[in-house]
């Protein structure tokens, strides 16, 4: 259980770090933690099981909408909403996974199905009045612990860090469990895995369910932090691409590579935004695209691979 202990220690250190940051630093901290959590959740299915999803916004969006609608219409505390969101995300992941994997779709076909399901969800939500339609839903600002709205940014830092810790712990647990080896076998060679007696479909469905549940945890926190959600921001294709991007740049399939991707890229985005002062919208996405292509060409194992190579090469 030493890795879990280390994880706990890291989380405690980060909690102390968050309290020392200035307000803007705390904002970046929250963004890094949330994006990192989405990327890690994506990695369970995309990296560990090798099934590349282009629709993880579906789970984040489902989580955000579930908790927000429960809170606005039924006065259910977002704390409960968080649990319901995870269950809905897990069910969606299992449902999509079961339907798709049973039909033996993989590779680019899987990517296209997930993309289409997420886009369809976006258009459905845009047309349903109870969900605010294309205008989205605003959450009235009532700072209270029970409302999942905190008086300071530090509260949200801890909330985001908490979700990141949960996602990290689950990733770590999978990595060291039988399931982790099952997923690895499926990723490396599906036929050999099946020949060894592994239920390939079951393994992938479980990965999709866990991945969906973890991604859905991020939705409610984002919604209560920003106090506004609309289909484009939580269900849109850009969010799905972000999840994949951080995972690929950070290091696909490695345990914490996707988090590293978010740790490097999100502050870079904020820095660029500050430097350019709002001119040249979308410049950070150009940088992402270039880094993504360079990483694919020069370091297919991502930043995490570069880092571990550098450590391994260090003279002892």
């Amino acid at each position: 259980m030493r890795p879990m202990l280390l994880l706990g220690l890291a989380v405690a250190l980060l909690a102390v770090l968050a309290s020392l940051l200035p307000i803007y630093g705390q904002h970046v901290f929250i963004l890094v933690a949330l994006y990192g959590a989405v990327a890690l959740a994506w990695n369970v299915l995309g990296g560990m099981a090798g099934q590349m999803s282009l629709g993880h916004a579906l789970f984040v969006g489902a989580g955000a909408y579930v908790s927000t609608v429960l809170y606005l219409n039924f006065a259910v505390s977002p704390w409960v909403g968080l649990v319901v969101a995870a269950m809905v995300g897990g069910a969606l992941g299992a449902g999509v996974g079961y339907t798709v994997f049973r039909c033996k779709l993989s590779g680019v076909y899987f990517a296209l199905v997930t993309l289409a399901v997420a886009e369809m969800a976006l258009h459905i939500v845009s047309n349903v009045a109870v969900l605010g339609g294309a205008n989205g839903l605003a959450i009235p600002s009532r700072p209270d612990f029970a409302n999942f709205q905190f008086h300071s940014k530090l509260g949200f830092c801890y909330a985001a860090l908490g979700v990141l810790a949960v996602v990290s712990a689950v990733s770590l647990a999978i990595h060291r469990s039988r399931l982790g080896y099952v997923l690895l076998a499926i990723r490396e060679n599906e036929r050999s895995a099946a020949a060894l007696g592994i239920d390939v479909v079951q393994g992938k469905v479980i990965a999709a369910a866990i991945s969906g549940a973890l991604a859905a945890l991020v939705g409610p926190i984002y919604a209560n932090y920003v106090l506004f959600i609309d289909p484009e921001s939580v269900l849109g294709l850009p969010l799905s691409i972000d999840a994949l991007l951080f995972a690929f740049i950070g290091g696909l399939g490695s345990l914490f590579g996707p988090l590293l991707g978010a740790v490097v890229l999100v502050p870079l985005t904020e820095l660029l935004r500050g430097l350019l002062a709002g001119r040249l919208a979308g410049i950070h996405l150009i940088v992402y695209g270039v880094i993504l292509i360079l990483v694919m060409r020069l370091a297919p194992r991502g930043l995490w691979g570069l880092l571990s190579d550098a450590i391994a090469r260090r003279p002892k």
Binding site: G50, M52, T99, V100, C103, L105, G107, V108, Y109, A111, L112, V113, L115, A116, V117, E119, M120, H123, I124, S126, N127, L237, I241, L244, L245, F248, L252, L280, A281, G282, I283, L285, I286, Y288, G289, V290, L292, I293, M296, R297, P300
Partner: protein
């Protein structure tokens, strides 16, 4: 409200839209069928073509139909560079890496256009803009008719090229079995380059033609990419006739669906059809026959 009288109009709109979808999808199916690479930046080259047409109109005062002679070579050139710099190095890489490279390219292109041209919508006027033909109760834009007719002709022309010319035969050989083609002395890399230039370059022909009745914005490409994927899957990946049939189906579903349901509900129908096809018949309507 009685919608029946409007149905012929919607059908006509759908057919015209379908012709354009078909040619965009034919380019995608060509790059997929020959190179086995799924190009997520496909539609962005169409957007580049539209912006070049826009520049031709604003800087040089060219009518879209004239700037065609500028846009077609430029987009083809861009395709050639893209192949050499980005696609060729990953041609044997795992599928994940190929998808991610084209996704990265799409991010760069889309946001470069956003940075240069801002998110404003632009219309590109032409001598034919506002020229409307009337067939009974059906009104048709002349420019849309031309675009659709040229698109269909181009689809059939490319089909003939691949089927009946020596060069087409070489491309098909490279598509069917890379190693066997190499052993027979086919310059596979050259054929890949050619196929990519035709597949993407054809967008340089489509862009000026649809410019008179379309707006230009940095995001227009990704809409076309998604639609092209739907069309290609409907009509079977790598199948030209399939792309043509799929294009008309999607065009009509969008136009008639928009008439019946209004709003963006018709997109839900299109995506639902797409998902059902992927699940139940991933080989598409016309089966997996490649090129």
């Amino acid at each position: 409200m009685d919608l029946l009288p409007l149905l012929p109009q919607a059908l006509a709109d759908g057919l015209l839209l379908g012709g354009v979808y078909a040619i965009v999808a034919v380019g995608l199916t060509m790059t997929f069928g020959v190179l086995r690479i799924v190009n997520f930046a496909h539609g962005d080259f169409l957007a580049i073509g539209l912006y070049l047409t826009y520049l031709g109109a604003t800087l040089l005062g060219l009518d879209p139909y004239l700037s065609l002679f500028l846009v077609l070579p430029l987009v083809t050139l861009a395709a050639a560079f893209t192949y050499k710099l980005l696609i060729a190095p990953v041609i044997l890489a795992p599928e994940h890496n190929q998808i991610v490279v084209t996704l990265g390219l799409s991010l760069v292109l889309q946001n470069a256009m956003l940075a240069f041209f801002t998110a404003d919508l632009h219309a590109i006027p032409s001598v034919l803009s506002g020229n409307v033909l009337r067939f009974g109760n059906v009104f048709v834009q002349a420019a849309a008719l031309i675009a659709s007719a040229v698109s269909i002709a181009l689809c059939l022309g490319l089909y003939w090229f691949l089927r009946s010319t020596e060069l087409g035969r070489l491309i098909r050989a490279a598509a069917q079995d890379r190693d066997a083609a190499l052993l027979c002395g086919v310059n596979v890399d050259r054929m890949y380059l050619l196929a990519f230039c035709i597949g993407v370059g054809s967008l340089g022909l489509v862009a000026p033609l649809i410019a008179p009745f379309n707006y230009v914005s940095p995001g227009v490409g990704s809409n076309f990419t998604l639609t092209a994927f739907i069309v290609v899957v409907l009509g079977s990946m790598g199948n030209f006739v399939g792309a043509l049939v799929g294009g008309f189906i999607v065009g009509i579903v969008e136009a008639v669906g928009g008439l019946v349901t209004g709003g963006s509900i018709n997109f839900i129908i299109t995506y639902a059809i797409f998902i059902l096809f992927l699940l139940l018949k991933p080989e598409g309507l016309l089966g997996g026959r490649r090129l």
